[in-house]
């Protein structure tokens, strides 16, 4: 399956999962909210152009927004993490040949520890940005801290489960093929 086709399927899949499964879960507490959809941006290939990445994130966030009825609310954090992603990748990726041998970020291509840091930072940034926008409209500081912390924890758990369920075979690309 081509990379483009795979990502288009993921695009639709993540939005539907978020809109029709995770958002339908009866709320446990005001702070605890399962958010998984942004994993799409984390899983985009390494080789993607930076400006294209941001535009994809914008469109993706906006599509998500139309299902929840708040255009712009999810687009803001999506663009933010798409902007941060390349910086993080340059720091975390080993500078040797390994960065060419896998097509997209996964525990296999990074190693488990750097990959968890990558996920943790971007998840935290996404939630902080998302809750900040909500916080500006209402709420207090405790709401902000509590919601970011609790939602990040739930999202990390969900991402962990997703990684266990769908082990992506980091496609091996030999140097000769390039």
């Amino acid at each position: 399956m081509g990379s483009l086709l795979k990502n288009i399927i993921r695009f639709i899949f993540f939005i539907l999962i978020q809109a029709y499964i995770l958002d339908k879960v009866p709320p446990l507490h005001e702070y605890v909210k399962p958010i998984l959809y942004f994993l799409f941006i984390l899983w985009l290939p390494f080789g993607i152009n930076r400006s294209l990445l941001m535009i994809i994130a914008f469109v993706f966030g906006l599509c998500m927004d139309y299902f929840t009825g708040t255009p712009g609310l999810h687009a803001i954090p999506c663009i933010f993490i798409a902007y941060l992603r390349p910086f993080l990748l340059t720091i975390l990726l080993p500078q040797e040949t390994t960065e060419l041998s896998y097509s997209e970020p996964s525990p296999k291509s990074f190693g488990a520890a750097p990959y968890s840091i990558y996920v943790l930072i971007l998840t935290f940034m996404h939630h902080a940005c998302l809750v900040l926008v909500e916080w500006l409209q209402f709420g207090d500081f405790i709401f902000f801290i509590g919601k970011v912390a609790a939602s990040t924890a739930v999202s990390l758990l969900l991402i962990f489960v997703t990684e266990m369920l769908f082990t992506r075979k980091g496609r091996y690309r030999t140097n000769t093929a390039i």
């Binding site: 958002d23 339908k24 909210k33 914008f58 906006l62 712009g72 209402f138």
Partner: protein
């Protein structure tokens, strides 16, 4: 000029980032004004169609609850039928004047039934999508009530779907009153629990008790709700020492988890009332 191009090329990604963020913030802030006129017709149709497909599956699991609600409501209405009452003393019937005078008065409210195709309770601002739109006579600002109580108001309409701001929304504010004493206050949601609403601005002179009924008020300013629709019951009374008002926690009558059918209320005299109020001198 060359420097400008060099500058743009150098900071292209940062500028693109800022431009896209700006666009997103703009869409978010302008949502309720320009958005609904501009994009709503297209986006409502698309997300509405998908939601409808999803709802077809979900609906089966709720059939029992929905039936129960509708049967209860029917029983309530049947109880109000004239045939359920013993007729008054018929021996002394007065002749009814057959002049063309409508003794029932002018019809004020019309009701349309609509199917809920998408509903959320877990967001900070919750919205509901209904499968009934402009072609079926839905207009913006219509009130929405469920079998058990009030639900929200229509905020945008496309050809076949309409979007409702549920009262489980931080932006929603509805006027509601206590059945006992007719004290009017503002009904809002604090975002915590979808089962409970907050009623503020009830003066301390009101004698409130746990379990008191709360209804929609007859002076609702922004919405076209009929007066006296069930809102909920008082669950908790908290007094603020510094002010003269109670804040009441209301157990919502509507169960938002199992909402499947709602009624749109159309206030037929709304235009007239609005135009009269607009004419009133401001001072």
């Amino acid at each position: 000029m060359r420097n400008i191009f060099l500058f743009i090329r150098r900071f292209f990604h940062l500028l693109l980032f800022l431009a896209l963020e700006g666009l997103a913030i703009y869409t978010l802030s302008k949502y309720n004004k320009t958005h609904q006129a501009f994009f709503a017709s297209v986006s409502n149709e698309v997300t509405g169609t998908i939601s409808e497909k999803y709802n077809k599956i979900e609906y089966y699991f709720r059939l029992k609850k929905t039936n129960e609600q509708l049967v209860n409501e029917n029983a309530g209405l049947r109880r109000m039928l004239s045939s359920s009452f013993e007729a008054p003393d018929t021996a002394k019937t007065t002749l009814i004047d057959s002049l063309a005078k409508d003794t029932l008065g002018v019809r004020k409210f019309d009701f349309l039934v609509a199917k809920v195709v998408n509903n959320s309770v877990s967001q900070e601002n919750n919205y509901i999508t209904l499968h009934r739109g402009a072609k079926q006579g839905v207009k913006v600002d219509m009130g929405v009530i469920g079998p058990d109580g009030i639900v929200g108001k229509v905020i945008s309409v496309s050809d076949n779907y309409s979007r409702v701001m549920s009262i489980l929304n931080r932006k929603s504010r509805v006027s509601a009153m206590l059945k006992k004493g007719l004290y009017t206050g503002d009904l809002e949601w604090d975002g915590k629990n979808p089962d409970y609403l907050m009623l503020s601005k009830i003066p301390k002179s009101a004698k409130v008790q746990k379990g008191d009924t709360v209804l929609t008020s007859n002076v609702s300013e922004k919405l076209s709700f009929p007066a006296g629709i069930m809102v909920g019951r008082v669950a908790e009374i908290s007094t603020d020492q510094s002010s003269n008002f109670y804040t009441l926690r209301i157990k919502s009558a509507t169960n938002f988890y199992t909402l499947q059918y709602v009624y749109l209320t159309d206030n037929l005299l709304w235009e007239e009332q609005k135009s009269l109020e607009a004419k009133t001198p401001k001072d």
